[in-house]
Amino acid sequence: MKYSQVRVLAGKGGAADHFSEALRGLAVDRRDSVYAAGDQEIKVFESGGRLARRWRTAMPGFAVAVAGDGRVFCGQPGQVEIFDGAGRLQAAWRDEQRLGLVTAIGFSTGNVFLADATGRCIRRYDGSGKYLNDIGNDNRMKGFLIPNGAVSFGVDAKGVIHSANPGKHRVERYTAGGALLGHFGRFDGRDPAGFSGCCNPTNVAVTGGSRIWVTEKAGPRAKVYDAEGALLAVIASDVFDPNCKNMSIAAGSRGQVYVADTVKLQIFVFEPLGGQGGAA
């Protein structure tokens, strides 16, 4: 299985569809529009690559996610801002005692999961913003090992949370209640199936139930695994700036992959060759 780069969105600069300082979060909605959180803005690109909308957020956004009902969640330091599809602010969740920097957001029926990098765990809230429980900090390390400074996870169709635990070179599976179901991944500096460096993978995205997309840092690369943790493909490795770290990744309905280059501030779009390998 191979991927080819088909498009590059955004970039570094002052143009409307460019970012000037940072590009941190990516999300894809059902219509394959790309939501990118960077600087202090959210930019929405149509599937063709044209900038459709952009709006400012209260604080720099570290994560962006699109809920099933089309609302856009933006994770920020200490809070989550919720916008409607047009970018109008609808609510802001703050949980000052608990919630720190939100670096990933996921949904399952009736649940909103917020990755809290300050608390090194995933916080579970209900749809109205009521805190339910923590995931991933019921262990000896009191949370995920994140020398990268970000917790990243994806939620599959069954509501299982796949979270990166970079310090252990693993992707861990949790139930919404916080029970550890299992994990895959191991350290290996040579075999692409293993995770290299001190602490990888940095970011995880999940589509449906069968594909787990991850990115690594140093050297930066994007990979795809199947549900059992078998490597399907290395999507790309040499197009990214070598100093990239915490590259957000998202996958679209046709199996296309979006990876944010955090140094060049570009979004690389890859598509599988031969058109197969689409979402399950």
Binding site: L145, H169, F187, D191, K217, N243
Partner: protein, 205 residues
């Protein structure tokens, strides 16, 4: 005759006075400029071993080879408060080496065997990945080659290991031999109170 000697004496005195004035003046100028005790210091933001944005190059080991004291006065230091205590530390292991049966890289990175690795905190005997590890640099063995510094820096590591001048070993050369050789002018004289400041690593270039 006596007239001449006094004239000569006066001339000599005048010349001496002028010279004293010149010397004193330049000394005064320099003292006005001086800012207390200054020491040699590695500017981590300039040192290519720790400077961000430098990747895929060999670690510069001029600090090892150029220093005038037998074992360089520049040594690697682990700022524990910044250290991620990683299970697999890229400064300790050669992460590109083959993985052994325990799941760890088989080679160590330090050519002088100067880094010690030990688990800390509540130790989980069953899963070694479940522990934090302290990486302790042996001052006596380290010669400042910078390999670990290069390996620890962002984005691979957290950049907790940096090169530092051991002021107790540094002989405070007029012109530090390393600074002469350093291609990035990373060894600078700074006021003593700034020498121990935590250096905020600058971004690319």
């Amino acid at each position: 005759m006596s007239d001449q000697t006094t004239r000569r004496g006066a001339l000599a005195r005048a010349a001496r006075g002028a010279a004293a004035l010149a010397l004193g003046g330049s000394a005064f100028y320099l003292v006005r400029k001086a800012d207390g005790q200054i020491v040699w210091n590695v500017d981590s933001a300039r040192c290519i071993n720790s400077r961000l944005g430098v990747t895929n190059v060999e670690a510069c080991n001029l600090c090892t080879t150029e220093c005038v004291v037998p074992l360089s006065a520049v040594r690697a230091v682990n700022e524990y408060s910044k250290c991620g205590r990683c299970y697999i530390c890229p400064a300790y292991f050669n992460i590109t080496s083959a993985v052994d049966e325990k799941g760890l890289p088989s080679e160590k990175l330090c050519p002088r065997d100067a880094i010690e690795r030990k688990p800390i905190g509540d130790i989980d005997p069953d899963d070694p990945a479940n522990n934090f590890y302290e990486y302790i640099i042996d001052e006596v063995k380290c010669d400042g080659c910078g390999k670990c510094v290069m390996a620890c820096k962002e984005p691979l590591g957290l950049g907790s290991i940096v090169l530092r001048v051991r002021h107790s070993l540094c002989v405070d050369c007029n012109r530090c031999a390393i600074s002469t050789a350093c291609p990035k002018d990373a060894i600078l004289q700074v006021p003593i109170e700034k020498a121990f400041d935590h250096v905020q690593l600058g971004s690319h270039d």
